[in-house]
Symmetry: C2
Subunit: 350 residues, 2 copies
């Protein structure tokens, strides 16, 4: 398909370097050995650069979890049945899932978005119902969604950021969708131009045999639609997920509004990669939160030449890795804003 | 010297395995793929095992910063002058140092202990003054402290835990002392039986030339007193620091009282190693918080075959790496206590 034009709400500006010297000077004059806060110094500088001021903030953090079902589940790619997507959404709404616990303890706002769960869901103040369709089509047989549905997903993703994360300095995204590691692997195999087996992993716990089957299912789909990194929206439409497509829209909109983007694991990275291909300046706004234990994530981060903040062997999804990293961003802003300088404190410098 | 007998307050009991099966069962029944919280699952299990109950807590965390001066500074081993130790203690008391900011933001209690700072310090409610002497002797020429001073340090370290961390489930230790990377490197070279050059690093910012000089200074001291891992207290007395010796006492006492020990970077690890050599069950109570950028720390952790929680290229000291890891311990306890099980949530298991 021809690449549709990306509406202006998704345009991402490169970050200005105007304050870079002042930012570095603030960091270097704090009462500590030069460079001794390591990656926290880089995070503080990134926050200040994105916000273009010398009092960077990281207190308001919003986490959006996008949930949807996947037609490719018909191919037997997950050890969990598809109804678990809706069951887990109910678990989110009752506050019993990992992401609820993580958001509560790390003081992060949370909204759950029905991007296209197959089963009906009840109305609930924390559930935003904007389903584009009741799960994707089975992408081994036909496009996962239509072009119109894809654009609808992008716009809904952006609308969620405008509505729920307007005041947030940091936007964190997560997902829930049985079968979505298969969609994410299909996206990354297309975008990275590697064999599906190189980016397929255990997901929620697929056996070695099921992983080989997952790779074969993806290979079948990619043979039907040979697409590459120059057609990110076509890849997303053909093999993506509704939640993944909304995350693409949310990442683009978040960066367009000058928020720092906190990228979770494998599935979030597949969405991020599409967004990055569309708007390369997205990288300026991005922090990769954690290294997932899903093997395809390691492969993707290596290709991007980035080292994420946390390496905790996690592979739960929901955005748990992103929310786990939030306190590090807050420490980064805090040392920048609150530590004394050598001059303030009357401490002799080296 | 003969090893003095270690008083009973320092005896550390191995942790019981009685609840291990129940602990694992709680973790495995949470609504998440099996094992998908990675290292957080191991942390939750360790907290529950140490506390011997199925409602592990990590809310009360106390951080003690021990400060002291080092006679070996006479040898020119640091780019900062010795008076910076006292200046930084004043910075702690005014709340302007990195450790103040980190403790405030991560809701961790903080007390600063004068274990033997050379310059006089004012009285202040957050400063506990128990100096054993005004800095160590220059250990290239004579023992850093006497046997009596060593035992006094261990007892003061224990008393600080009894007084200030009685209610804490987690004990975190930090230090301040210009010259103390030299003492720590001397301890680790003795305990690991490696060349000083293998564990010497930049400290607060020593040049390559100064690092070579540091290694030569340590080699000179170790030639004077050839001691090994079977004499941990003698090593500590000969080349240790007053703050390091108090940390040894505090680690032992904390574990003896059933607290989880959060070990910071290079200097804290040198203190921990002495404590571990004295009471090997200490390891059950220990979490290594971060991988310091100080090269000797990498070497020591490799020898111990442990991977710490955080890899952030930090090398600031004060216990900043330990306090940075506290939110991860709290997430570990929180998922264990608060997440729904598959049965609670009515979610189908794989």
């Amino acid at each position: 398909m021809n690449q549709p034009l990306l509406p202006p709400i998704f345009h991402v500006q490169p970050v200005s370097a105007a304050l870079d010297e002042q930012i570095q000077s603030v960091i270097d004059n704090k009462t500590k050995p030069l460079g001794s806060l390591g990656k926290l110094e880089a995070l503080a500088a990134q926050l200040a650069r994105i916000q273009q001021n010398l009092s960077p903030r990281a207190d308001e953090v919003m986490h959006l979890v996008f949930a949807a079902d996947h037609g490719v589940c018909d191919e037997g790619v997950s050890p969990f049945p598809q109804e678990v997507t809706a069951q887990m959404v109910l678990n989110f709404l009752r506050g019993g899932a990992a992401i609820n616990v993580f958001c509560r303890h790390n003081r992060v706002g949370l909204k759950v978005i029905d991007a296209g769960v197959a089963a009906p869901l009840p109305s609930h103040p924390d559930l935003i119902s904007v389903p584009v369709r009741a799960g994707t089509a089975n992408f081994t047989l036909q496009p996962a969604m239509t072009k119109a549905e894809l654009m609808n997903c992008l716009e809904q993703g952006a609308a969620m950021v405008d509505t729920w994360a307007a005041d947030a300095q940091i936007l964190s995204l997560g997902e829930m969708g049985i079968g979505n590691t298969t969609a994410a692997a299909a996206i990354l195999a297309s975008m990275m131009q590697v064999q599906p087996s190189e980016v397929v992993g255990a997901g929620t716990g697929a056996s070695e045999q099921m992983q080989q089957h997952k790779a074969a299912v993806i290979a079948k789909a990619l043979a039907r639609i040979p697409l590459g990194p120059d057609q990110p929206l076509a890849v997303l439409q053909q093999v993506g997920g509704l939640e993944i497509a909304m995350m693409v829209g949310a990442f683009l909109r978040g960066a367009s509004l000058g928020k720092l983007l906190l990228v979770d694991g494998f599935i979030a990275t597949s969405a991020w990669w599409i967004a990055y291909a569309l708007q390369p300046a997205l990288k300026h706004y991005t922090v990769f939160a954690h290294q997932s234990d899903e093997q395809g994530h390691t492969r993707a981060l290596q290709a991007l030449q980035v080292t994420p903040l946390l390496q905790l062997d996690m592979r739960l999804g929901e955005g748990t890795g992103a929310v786990a990293a939030v306190p590090l961003l807050r420490l980064a802003a805090a040392f920048f804003n609150e530590m004394a300088s050598f001059a303030d404190a009357g401490v002799s410098n080296a």
